[in-house]
């Protein structure tokens, strides 16, 4: 039996804005096992990043509010009830995070060496010399050439890819048990993206770190994640192992996401699938299934009642009325079928 290191239960996050309360995350649950990679996938604004930040307790309160009844349990300890002091050791040592934009997530007036050494000094209680040695080692680990000189550079002297490597070095400096990567490759060139992903994969093996990967890019997920969780309008609509989601997904939204990924066997004249419409406004109360307004298979019930969760296997579940026995039989879209033969 694998060890659970993180459990999120009924997480609800709201933002209080001029226009009203935006319910960004509406009660999501998931577990993370030791050393596994979980991907949170969905469009912009579906609550992925908010979920990630909530786990780190990095949301600014106010305007954000983590609603009562939410629980985030790390190794049996409720993150939401941690003291300030415990929180400082929790962040960085137990869990760490890489952000989307490496251009802005490093302190511009501090050398990268100092920024790496900072967490080493806090958590590993190293002195300056030891920390410097360790920082050089870390930079070498993330494949930065000339690490010895590089630690004296300022962030603006590095390229985007290099900066993201530095961010990874900082995040992994104290061997955290969980690494949250929030769109780690979105702001980078495609060639660099692959390098960073390979690096993360390698390091994951080496350190046995569990990773929560937040992304909208299913391409990134395909060869990286163990489990996938598809989010829509602040809720999880479908979850499963990578294979279950890629080859056997049953939710129309997952289908839409998968169909819009370009693939090699797409014939020249075939148009790439594009999902119409926009996600619902999260200020308004949602009635029925949040995806109903954009769903090709929408039924009357979808507009009125929230769908129940249907379990297809131990790992695969979804919430969609199509799973109801009364619902018409619906086939997976043709584009997605036959993928297994490839």
């Amino acid at each position: 039996m694998v060890e659970k290191i993180l459990e999120v239960k009924n997480l609800q996050v709201s933002f209080h804005t001029y226009a009203g309360e935006v319910r960004a995350v509406r009660g999501i649950d998931f577990d993370l096992d030791k050393g596994e990679t979980l991907a949170l996938v969905g469009e912009s604004g579906c609550g992925k990043t908010v979920t990630a930040k909530a786990i780190m307790r990095l949301l600014k309160v106010p305007p954000a509010e983590i609603k009562k009844g939410s629980e985030i349990i790390f190794n049996g300890e409720d993150v939401l009830k941690m003291s300030k002091k415990r929180l400082s050791s929790f962040r960085g040592e137990d869990i760490s995070m890489i952000f989307q934009d490496p251009m802005t997530s490093l302190n511009p007036t501090m050398t990268i060496g100092n920024q790496i050494m900072e967490s080493l000094k806090i958590h590993k209680k190293l002195n300056k010399k030891e920390a410097e040695k360790e920082a050089i080692k870390l930079l070498e680990l993330v494949n930065i050439p000339n690490a010895k000189e590089r630690i004296k550079s300022f962030p603006h002297q590095l390229s985007g890819g290099m900066r993201q490597r530095v961010m990874i070095a900082i995040a992994l400096s104290c061997n955290p048990k969980i690494l949250i990567a929030d769109e780690p490759t979105t702001a980078l060139d495609v060639t660099i993206q692959a390098q960073i992903l390979d690096l993360l994969k390698e390091l994951k093996k080496e350190f046995e770190t569990a990773i929560i990967l937040v992304t909208h890019d299913l391409g990134v997920v395909a060869n990286f994640a163990d489990k996938i969780q598809v989010m829509y309008a602040g809720q999880v609509v479908e979850r499963g192992t990578r294979d279950e989601i890629f080859y056997n997904s049953m939710h129309p939204y997952t289908w839409a996401l998968l169909s819009s990924v370009p693939r090699l066997n797409t014939k020249g004249k075939e148009e790439l699938y594009a999902l119409g419409g926009t996600p619902p406004d999260l200020i308004l109360p949602l009635k029925g299934c949040p995806f109903s307004s954009r769903c090709e298979h929408c039924m009357e019930i979808c507009l009125e009642e929230k769908p129940e969760i249907t379990k297809l296997s131990d790992t695969h579940s979804l919430s969609c009325w199509l799973q109801h026995p009364y619902a018409p039989k619906t086939e997976r879209p043709a584009v997605l079928r036959g993928e297994r033969d490839e």
Binding site: T17, S293, R294, C298, L303, E308, W321, Y326, P328
Partner: protein
């Protein structure tokens, strides 16, 4: 799940366009800014105070029947009373009428100064930003030099040279280098906006230059110019106060808040009311403009739109 009837599971034709309709009412930039300004109580109060002050400078001197320049030796240095609401000064002139008369001059200097510097600054900055390159370089060098001359020195030199301390000379000398800040601001903002991707997008889509200027450049520059004006007006009033204090301001029989306050300063210990009222008006004006400026800046900042 039992209670659900089977016919609820009929397919509903999809209407994607429905998802595209805005769930919330659309709001223009200015509408939104005004809405945000309205919720800012401090800024709204400032507007009310300013309007009251401006109206009073127009009608105030005529309210209690005493002229601002009538000297009455029998009523020297009186405390505020039912007849002379703010008391009288060392020549027996009515302070109430004088305060509002002085306010006229101060307000005129502030507003006129700001208008002039905005016009010159916008044209100059706009030209520099529009042409760019060498023109911009030379124009900005000139500004750099002008801006490094302390304004007080310019004002002092001009007032000595022209031997005139009229309102016109004062505004002229205050705006002589005063527009430089505005020019810099406008140019900086225009250049920044010009580089934005949405301008490039508009250009590639074939939007006419005129439309780009009116739809994108002006609204984006206007915001910060309005904010700058609200800080410029009190700046000029303040500068006038200083000049009056060192004896270079408007000359009698005309007066301004600065002149009143500085005249009263000598007798401050004995007749504090003579200094209190003009000082109060200066402070109120400055305060209201500053707070209004802060409010406007917050309201016009698109980053805060939510």
């Amino acid at each position: 799940m039992e209670g659900i009837s089977k016919d609820k599971f009929k397919k509903v034709p999809m209407d994607v366009s429905k998802g595209d309709t805005m769930a919330r009412p659309r709001m223009g930039y200015w509408q939104d800014a005004w809405r945000r300004l309205k919720t800012n109580k401090v800024a709204m109060l400032s507007i009310i105070v300013l309007l009251t002050l401006i109206i009073m400078t127009i009608i105030g001197p005529h309210l209690n029947g005493y002229s601002y320049k009538t000297v009455d030796p029998s009523k020297v240095n009186m405390k505020p009373n039912s007849e002379h609401w703010f008391g009288t000064d060392e020549l027996g002139r009515d302070v109430f009428s004088r305060v509002w008369q002085a306010g006229r001059i101060s307000m005129i200097i502030g507003i006129l100064g700001a208008i002039i510097d905005t016009i010159i600054g916008c044209i100059y900055g706009g030209i520099a930003a529009y042409f760019g390159g060498k023109v911009d370089n030379i124009m900005m060098r000139i500004v750099e030099i002008l801006i490094s001359i302390p304004y007080l020195i310019v004002v002092i030199l001009i007032s000595i040279v022209t031997e005139s301390r009229s309102l016109g000379t004062m505004i002229l000398s205050l705006t002589l280098t005063g527009w430089c800040g505005m020019a810099r601001l406008v140019r900086g903002q225009m250049l920044q906006v010009k580089q934005q991707e949405y301008i490039m997008a508009a250009e590639t889509l074939g939007v006419s230059p005129w439309k780009i200027i009116t739809k994108h450049l002006i609204p984006n520059v206007l915001g910060i110019v309005i904010v700058a004006i609200t800080f410029d007006i009190p700046g000029y009033i303040f500068a006038e106060t200083f000049l009056s204090y060192i004896g270079l301001g408007v000359q009698p029989p005309n007066t301004s808040w600065g002149a009143l306050a500085s005249a009263a300063q000598q007798n401050f210990i004995f007749y504090p009311h003579q200094m209190f009222f003009p000082s109060l008006m200066i402070a109120l004006t400055m305060l209201s403009f500053t707070l209004l400026g802060d409010g406007l800046r917050d309201a016009l900042d698109p980053k805060l739109r939510q």
